[in-house]
Structure formats: C-alpha cells, structure tokens
C-alpha cells in the first residue's frame, strides 16, 4: 500500500508538491510563530524571572503609601493582628494603615519609627579628632513587620513554604569625630578711658573765678583762680570736670557653647543590605542557584555575608575579604548574582545578624511564599490579603501584567495576532489540502472504481487515500519545518532588541515617599533590553510535522470519505 501511495505521489508530483507546499506554508508559519513566541516568552521570563528564580510564587511586603492593596483592611487597633508582637517600629494593625492614598497616621508613626536611627549621635562616636566608621540601617518606605507573619503565612492552606527576609538601606559613614562643644575664656582685661571736657562757658568761668576768689579771702563768695590749686578748689569746677579719667578690669569667665552645625569631614556611602535565612536556602531573596563564587551561608556563622557580584566588583571585595560594621568584622564567603529585579541587595547577611545590626530584632520586611501548585496561587493570595490587611502581594502573573515596552507590545501582538494568524494560515493550508485531495479523487474515479471492482473494500480505499495524504503531510511538514526553522534563524540572526519595563517587586522606593530618602534607593522600576531570539526546539519541529500530518489526515479523511461513497458501478459507468 505504501509503495502504491508513493507511486501515486510521484505520478501526481505537481499536485503533491502543491498540496505539500500549502501545508508547508502553514507549518512554517506555525513553527516560526512558536519560535518567536518562545523567544518572547524567554525574553519576558528574563525580565519576570525574579520570583520564580528564587523559588517563590508570592512576595508579601508592606510599602508606605501602598495604593495597590486589593482588599480593604479593617480599622487597625493597638492589639490587632501582628502588632500584638509589639517591639520595634510598626504602626497599628498588621502593617499599619489600610489601603488608600497617601499616608495615614499609622504610616507616619511607623515611618518615623522605622527610620529613627537616621540621627547619628556624634558625641558617641569617640573623642573629637578620632577617626570613626559607622553604619546605620533604614527601612526607608519598606516597612518592617513582626516575623510571626512568616509562620502565619506558612499555615495557610496551599502554602508549601514561607521565608522571611529583611531589606534595609544602609548608610556607611567615615570621618573624624567633630568638635561638638567650644570653651571660651573671657574677662581679666583692664580698660582706661580719658575724657576731654568741653571748654568753660562764660558763665562757668565767671562763677569759677568767684569761687576761687572767695576761697582766697576766706569770705568772699567768689573763689580766686590763683588760690584754687592750693586749696583744692575742687568744688569750684563744674560737675563734668570732677571725673574725666577712669580705669576698670573685667572679671575672668569661662563660657561653654555648642557648635551648630559641628564642623566635620564625615563622608557617607549607601548600600543595600538584606537578611536571608541560611536555613531556608531554596526560598529567599537570593538562592544558592545564584551563587557564582564561594559558598553559601552557614547557619552557625552569623558574621558571614554574601556580596552581590556588581557590588563586589565596585568595592573590590571578594571571597575571603573582611570588612567592619559597627565594630563587628564580617567575612565575605560567597558572590551571588541575584535576580529579584528591583529588589536586589548589595550585601546579604544572615537574617538574625541584620536584624541585630538594624535594631529590628524579630522583624522582617518581606515574606516569600512558595505554594503547593500554580493553581493555588490565587487562593493563597486572597487568604494572605485577608489575614494580613494592608499587605502588598505580588505574584509572577501580576508582574507580567505590569510589563510595558516593546517586549510587551510584541508579546501581545504574538498572543493576539500571531496565534490567530497561525490558525488562519493553518486552516487555509488544511482547506487547500482538502480541496486538492478532493480534486485528485475526482480525477481518480476510474481508478477507485477499478479497485472496488477487483475487491478492494471501502476501508482499504480510504486507507490508501489516507496513506497518500499522510505522506504528503509528512513532506509538507518537513518543508514547513525547514521554512519555519529558516525564519526563526533569520529572526535570531537579526536579533531585534526589545525593551521591557516592569514596576518590579515592591522595594524601598516603591512609593512617592522614596524621594525623601534620596537617589541611593534602588529603583523598583526595572527596565531591560533583550535581544529577541526564536529558539526552535525539537518539540516545535515535532509539532510542526504533527500539524502537517493532521492536515494530511483531514484531507485524507475527507477525500477517503468521498472515495468511499463512490459506487463501483457508478464509478466505472461514469468513465465508461
């Protein structure tokens, strides 16, 4: 039967090639679209992989001024939710305020408490003139909350694992302890003043002469000027001539005065710090998969850290390097390339260590959640929002929905137009194959009648037609796969650049308050430029050939049905 089919295809080579090329066009389009679509998926995944790449389905945070929370929270009270844990920072309710625009009172309180150590007490850094280094840690607008939230989330049905993390904006200061108070000695000076009286008036002179004269005569009321020196005559002068020269000495005094502002040479540099749980390496802000050098943190070594590769390069630190933070020496044990776009940190500490350094014992800023299955994500999100009012919950899908840029446009185009185009082209190819097969059947009426006359059953005739069309389908599939592969190769060679911008995961700059903390905050908006490739996998090729064979099957089924309906007598009679 196959030999017969192959012979038939050779004999009707033109029609065979035409049918095969019709199917090939459809298959080539499908293979190309699948390749481009896969390339777009890969490109999008490279932008959106942050959550999945760290073993996480859901990320829970609380950002000040969050307006994206899906469910309203009840009016917070002092004993509500996880605030019962008390401790450092945090406002009323689980995370403070509920959803809404701008800051509420709870936000303001929480914000102030989270960032109160931004004030550096210079008087405690050492003696004036001494060199110092000092690091302080801020939550910025990513508020912390009690670590009990992690355990509560872990209890939710559908949650496979949950881990807490703490992200802080660190400020590293170096400089000289400034002179804060000045002592000033005052007093002890002697002052002498000489006065030049105004000349006597005529009336004064006359009165003076009379005074002196009177003193000389002893009776005369008018004094004599010549006798004045001898008798003193002091009373004869006008009042302003009696004291015209004096001296005084000021008392000694020491004054103490605060210098505002103190003069200092302090320089500040910022970096971001994250606390991860070394005991849960599979889920965290960074995972061992992202380790490029060195080793992972050990649970028993609180003073080990991992460095972001970019930060390590910038600071010339590497595995084995040490540095000091507030008197404690830390050792770099590994270099990582974290992928949590928008929320990567420069230094990764053991969670407890960073909690201590930041003065946020028992508090975290993120809960990373792994669900038991993708189908559970929505239900878990709802339960988290119900249990943790005010939480900002991010999933891979929600991130995907936020992607903008040419990548997103291309992705939408591929989804909407590409799929439809592939279906249309494929359907057209199938229709062409069916019509050509029917045309072929019409031309083979005598042949089919003869086969039926010599004892071929309807089923055997149908199988014969199917064998032929499936072989055409295979031929079309091979040609189509070659066309699709060539198209995909061309896309890969041309490699058009696509940009993707996503709001990323919530981080310390995820609110309009971020400006208060300066430009050192990592941007939550994550942009990436990716080169579009169109990878064609074996599975794609198989799908392409499969479509062509399906097209052949459809054509064969229709053609076979038509042939099987031919009465052998009619078939022979019609060609006479």
């Amino acid at each position: 039967m196959l030999g017969y089919a192959a012979s038939e295809l050779r004999r009707r080579l033109g029609r065979t090639l035409l049918t095969a090329l019709g199917l090939a066009a459809g298959v080539g389009m499908v293979v190309g679209i699948i390749g481009v679509s896969r390339g777009l998926n890969d490109a999008q995944a490279s932008v959106l992989q942050p959550l999945s790449s760290i073993g996480t389905d859901i990320l829970v945070t609380r950002v000040v001024g969050n307006t994206q929370t899906a469910t309203p929270s009840p009016t917070p009270t002092a004993t509500d939710g996880f605030n019962r844990g008390g401790g450092f920072g945090g406002g009323p309710g689980f995370f403070g305020g509920g959803p809404g625009s701008g800051l509420n009172g709870a936000d303001i309180t929480a914000l102030a408490q989270e960032n109160n150590n931004v004030v550096t007490d210079l008087s405690k850094l050492g003696k004036p003139g001494a060199k110092f280094t000092h690091d302080f840690f801020l939550s910025a607008t990513l508020l912390s909350f009690p670590q009990e939230a992690v355990a509560e989330v872990a209890k939710i049905n559908g949650v496979a694992a949950a881990a807490g993390a703490l992200t802080q904006l660190a400020n590293h200061q170096t400089g000289t302890v400034p002179q804060i108070v000045a002592e000033i000695q005052t007093g002890g000076q002697t002052f002498t003043q000489t006065a030049r009286p105004a000349p006597l008036t005529d009336a004064e002179r006359q009165k003076l002469q009379q005074c002196f004269a009177g003193e000389r005569s002893g009776s005369s009321p008018e004094p004599s000027p010549q006798a004045a020196p001898r008798q003193g005559g002091r009373d004869c002068f006008p009042e302003r001539f009696r004291e015209f020269r004096f001296s005084f000495r000021t008392p000694l005094q020491t004054l103490r005065q605060a210098i505002d502002p103190p003069q200092t040479d302090i320089t500040s540099t910022s970096y971001t710090a994250a606390g991860i749980d070394p005991a849960s390496p599979r889920i965290g802000l960074v995972t061992p998969d992202q380790l490029t050098k060195g080793r992972w943190l050990t649970t028993s070594a609180p003073n080990e850290v991992l460095l972001n590769a970019a930060y390590a390069n910038k600071t010339s630190l590497g595995v084995g390097s040490t540095f000091e933070i507030n008197g404690t020496t830390f050792t770099v044990v590994g270099i990582v390339t974290p992928t949590l776009a928008g929320a990567t940190s420069d230094v990764y500490f053991p969670l407890a260590t960073l909690q201590t350094l930041a003065g946020k014992a028992g508090r975290v800023t993120q809960v990373l959640v792994k669900t038991t299955g993708a189908s559970n994500v929505d239900a878990v999100v709802k339960e988290i929002q119900k249990q943790l009012p005010g939480a900002e919950v991010v999933t891979t899908r929600s991130l995907a929905e936020q992607v903008t840029g040419s990548l997103s446009d291309a992705r939408k185009l591929a989804d909407r137009l590409g799929g439809a185009l592939a279906v249309i082209v494929l359907a057209a190819a199938f229709v062409i194959a069916v019509l050509l097969t029917l045309g072929s059947i019409a031309k083979r009426v005598r042949e089919i009648g003869t086969l039926r006359a010599i004892g071929w059953s309807r089923g055997r005739v149908v199988r014969q037609i199917l064998a032929e069309t499936i072989m055409i389908g295979l031929l079309g599939g091979v040609i189509g796969v070659a066309i699709g592969y060539a198209a995909a190769y061309a896309v890969g060679a041309f490699s058009p650049a696509l940009t993707a911008t996503t709001s990323g995961v919530p981080n310390m700059s995820s609110s309009n308050l971020a400006q208060f903390f300066g430009s050192s905050l990592p941007s939550s908006v994550h942009s990436a430029t990716v080169s579009l490739k169109a990878p064609v996998h074996l599975a794609t090729l198989a799908v392409g050939v499969g479509f062509a064979v399906i097209g052949g099957l459809i054509a064969g089924a229709v053609g076979g049905w038509r042939a099987s309906r031919l009465s052998p007598a009619e078939a022979l009679r019609s060609v006479g």
């Binding site: 030999g3 017969y4 012979s7 038939e8 003869t450 039926r452 006359a453 010599i454 059953s457 052998p568």
Partner: protein
C-alpha cells in the same frame, strides 16, 4: 465447485430470475435491464451482444456484484447477490470474479507485476506468494520480461494481457470482460480473445464477455443478444463456438 454446491446449483454459476434494473436520470426513470431470466453454467464462454444502451454493461455489473437489481434475483454460486451486504459483495468480487475492461483500467503508476499484485491485496496473501503468482501469470500471458514496466510503456495488447492476468490473479470462478478488444486492432483483438478463452478453458473459469465484435462473438459457445434491456436471443452453439 464442490459436490454439495454443484448439487445445490445444478452446475449453474449464475441464475437470474426476473432481473430488472432501473435508473433515475434527469427526472425520469430509465429501465436498463428489464426482466432478464437466464442461467450460466460453470466453465461456459458466453458473449452478450447488443447495440449501445441495450443494457449489456448493466447486466455485466449485476453479474459482477458491482450493482444490485431493482427487482428479481441474481444468484451466484447459490448465493443471492441482491440480498448480500456490501462487505460480502466486495468479498465475492475479490475471491470469485475477475474483471477485464475495455480501457484496461491498469493503475498507471504501478508496474505490470504490481498491477497484478494489488488484486491479491484483499486476500492477505504474502508478498512472496503474490509476486510468484503474478510472475507466473505474466509468463503464461507471454509478458515475463515486461513485469517491471509501467502500463504507459506497454502496447494496448500488452496492457490488456496484464489486465487479464490481474483478473486471473485470485483464481476466480468467473471472468467478466466488458468490450475487452474494443481498443485493440483486429489482430491483437483476436489474439487477446483467444488467449482469454484458452486460459478460462484451461482453468475451468466461466467467461462472460460483452462485445460489439462479431469476431469475438463467434468464438463463444453461447451468444446472448439484448435490446432495450431485454434478453431477446440466447443462442447456444453445440460445438463450443464458431471455429477460428
């Protein structure tokens, strides 16, 4: 034919009773075969003559289990073909009936050998047996060297001989030939009909030939004449046909 069957059929391979075949064409009904009664004995060489449109080919199709009568019965080897389902008719055609057509009706893409082999396909014969049987038949028909040739490269006579070999492939009881010499020159036609008749005689196969040719008709032991769907003459030559 075994003894039981011979007893049941009185040695008749065909027995037709009141056979009628109507067709609807252009809104009116056409009676192609009208009340035919006849019997054909096993091993007989019968020709059916008559002008065009007299119902010869329709009668041949009824005999060949390609069609069912509108009325009456066509009994083949004791089985009423008019009541058999399609599958059974197909099996009868495959096992018991061979066809030879005016236009040869060979599959143009298959070689002479392959054309013979496809007739054996429904009988689940092994490839080797099919090939051996086909080669033997071609040898009997003088085409041993032409087995690998396509029909398009063969003469009309050669093609018709391949067609005869195909008809004989499954060792049928009956061979039905519709104008088997219609496309052949007289010399070749004579050669073909002689070959066909000799082969059927040697194998004990019943041969029914529809023809316009007097030369062909004269070779038959029995001549049936039809007009307007009716069998108007049934002439039996006691010596088995006119001597060539």
């Amino acid at each position: 034919m075994n003894d039981d069957e011979a007893a049941r059929t009185n040695g008749h391979v065909y027995e037709l009773r009141g056979v009628r075949r109507d067709f609807r064409a252009g809104g009116s009904e056409v009676r192609a075969v009208d009340g035919v009664d006849m019997v054909v004995a096993t091993g007989e060489f019968v020709v059916v003559e008559g002008p065009s449109g007299s119902g010869k080919t329709t009668l041949l199709q009824l005999l060949g289990a390609l069609d069912r009568p509108t009325a009456g019965s066509v009994s083949f080897a004791g089985r009423d073909l008019s009541s058999l389902p399609d599958r059974a008719l197909t099996e009868v055609r495959a096992r018991d009936i061979g066809f030879v057509f005016q236009t040869f009706n060979l599959i143009p893409t298959l070689t002479a050998l392959e054309n013979i082999e496809i007739a054996m396909a429904p009988l689940r014969v092994s490839r080797a047996k099919k090939r051996a049987r086909a080669e033997k038949l071609l040898g009997q028909l003088g085409l041993a060297e032409r087995g690998g040739h396509l029909p398009g490269l063969m003469s009309g006579g050669e093609q018709q001989r391949v067609s005869i070999a195909r008809a004989m492939a499954n060792e049928p009881r009956v061979i039905l030939a519709d104008e088997p010499t219609g496309n052949l020159d007289s010399t070749t036609a004579d050669e073909i009909i002689r070959l066909l008749a000799d082969l059927c005689a040697s194998e004990g196969v019943t041969l029914i030939v529809v023809t316009h040719s007097e030369d062909v008709a004269r070779r038959a032991a029995r001549r049936l004449r039809m007009r307007d769907g009716r069998l108007i003459d049934d002439e039996i030559w006691t010596r088995g046909g006119v001597p060539g």
